[in-house]
Amino acid sequence: MVDFNNETTVGTPAIDIVRVLILQRRADLFEAWEDYKKKSYAGIEKNTPIIRARLFTLFMEIQAAQKRRLKDEDYLELIRKVKSDNIEELETVTFEINEFLDSIKLITVDTKKTYDSTRVEVEDKMKKL
C-alpha cells in the first residue's frame, strides 16, 4: 500500500496515487478470484468473503466517479451487486468495474493505433508527415 510519508509520494499528484491504489486493489481482487477459482475447480471449500471484501474496497475507490457517470437506478443496482453474496453477481460486477477502468484508459492495453496501410496518405498522416 501507499506510504504517504514517503518523499516520493509527497511530491506525487493525488490523482496518480489514487490510480496506483486502484491498480493495487484490482490486483488484490484478482488474486482472491484466482484463489476462489482454484478451489472451486478442485471442488473444495470456497472463500467468498475475501472476494466480497476486496471487491468492495475496489468499488470504494471508484464509487464517486461511478455515481457521477451512472444513472441513479444503474448506480443503485451496482451497489446492490457489490454488496451481494451471489458469486455470479460478484463476477458480473468485477467485469463491469474492469470495463469502467478500461474506458478511463487506466488498464487499456491495446493502445497501438491501427490504420489502413494501403493508403499512403493515411499512413503519412498517422506518422505526421
Binding site: S117, T118, R119, V120, E121, E123, D124, K127, L129
Partner: protein
C-alpha cells in the same frame, strides 16, 4: 483501338486510383504533391505516368493528355520543357504535369539540376494545385532535403515488366525514408526496395497501340535531340556563345566577325550554328589583327 483496362475501367488497379484521389485531396488543400515513378529502362515509367495523368484529367472532366510531338503541354521532356509546361498548365488550370527524364539523360549535372528544379518548383508554385509526376531511373537521385520537406507523397517503383502489363509497388513518404536509408548501406541500391514492405502492389496495362506509338515517338524525339547535342559535343563543335566566352568578347561582336569573314558553320541544330573548333583561333587572329591596326 481503345485503352486496355481492368474491370474497374482503369488502366491500373483500384488501390492506386484510391491513393491518387487521396493525393488530389491534399493538393486541393494547397499542399505540395509529387508522385515519383522510378524503375529501370523499359519498365513503363512514362506509360504509367501518362495513365495516371489521364485518370487525374478524367477526375476533372478533361480529355486524356495530348501526346502529339508538337503539342504536349502536360509532358515535359527534360527540365527546360517541364518548367515551360508547368507555367502553361498553371495558366490553363490543368491538374497534372509530367516530368520525364528522357530529355536530360546522361547530361552532366542533370541530377543536381533536377533537385534544384523540384525545390524551385515547389517553392515558387506553392499552392498551384497541380500534381507533378516525375519519372526517374532511380529514386536515389532525389535529395533527402525534398523528403524532409514532405514534398514526395507516393513512390511507384516499377519492376519485372511483362509483354502486356507492368508491375508496381507503392511506397508512402514514411517508407521512402527507410528505402533511402537502406540504399546508403547497399552496393546494389535496387535491393533496398526488397528490404522495405510496400504499402500496396499492383499492375498496369499498356497504352492503346495508337497512343503507345505516339508516346514512343514523343519519348524518342527527346532522346534524339540529346543525342544530337552529344554528337555535336563529341565532334568538338562550338557555338557563338562558346566562341565569345573563349575570346572574351560579346556574342554580337563574334557573330559580326564571323559574318564579315564569311566563315561557314558546320552544323545547324535547334536554330543554333555550330563551327569547327579552329574557328576560335581564326577569330582570335582577326581580333589581334584589328588590335594591331
Amino acid at each position: 483501338m481503345e485503352q486496355p483496362t481492368y474491370k474497374n475501367g482503369l488502366a491500373f488497379d483500384t488501390k492506386l486510383s484510391e491513393n491518387i484521389i487521396d493525393i488530389e485531396d491534399r493538393i486541393i488543400k494547397k499542399k505540395a504533391g509529387l508522385l515519383i515513378i522510378d524503375g529501370g529502362v523499359g519498365e513503363g515509367k512514362t506509360t504509367l505516368a501518362v495513365e495516371v495523368a489521364d485518370f487525374i484529367n478524367s477526375l476533372k472532366g478533361l480529355p486524356p493528355i495530348s501526346l502529339e510531338a508538337k503539342d504536349h503541354p502536360q509532358i515535359g521532356l527534360g527540365a527546360k520543357e517541364f518548367m515551360h509546361n508547368l507555367r502553361y498548365c498553371y495558366g490553363e488550370k490543368f491538374p497534372v504535369v509530367i516530368y520525364d527524364e528522357a530529355g536530360d539523360f546522361n547530361k552532366r549535372g542533370a541530377l543536381t539540376r533536377l533537385n534544384a528544379m523540384i525545390n524551385r518548383v515547389f517553392e515558387t508554385f506553392r499552392g498551384f494545385k497541380i500534381l507533378v509526376v516525375i519519372c526517374l531511373p532511380s529514386f536515389e537521385s532525389l535529395d533527402n532535403d525534398l523528403l524532409t520537406k514532405n514534398i514526395p507523397r507516393l513512390l511507384l517503383h516499377l519492376s519485372n515488366r511483362e509483354e502486356t502489363y507492368g508491375n508496381y509497388s507503392g511506397y508512402s513518404l514514411y517508407r521512402m525514408f527507410y528505402i533511402k536509408d537502406k540504399m546508403k548501406k547497399l552496393v546494389v541500391k535496387s535491393f533496398a526496395y526488397d528490404l522495405v514492405n510496400p504499402n500496396f502492389v499492383g499492375h498496369f496495362k499498356d497504352l492503346s497501340p495508337e497512343r503507345g506509338k505516339q508516346l514512343d515517338r514523343l519519348s524518342t524525339k527527346g532522346k534524339i535531340e540529346v543525342l544530337k547535342e552529344q554528337e555535336i559535343k563529341a565532334e568538338n563543335l562550338v557555338s557563338y556563345s562558346d566562341i565569345a566566352q573563349k575570346v572574351n568578347r560579346s556574342i554580337g561582336y563574334c557573330r559580326r566577325v564571323i559574318l564579315d569573314n564569311r566563315i561557314k558553320h558546320k552544323r545547324l541544330f535547334n536554330r543554333v550554328k555550330y563551327f569547327d573548333h579552329d574557328v576560335i583561333d581564326r577569330v582570335c587572329d582577326i581580333i589581334d589583327g584589328v588590335n594591331e591596326e
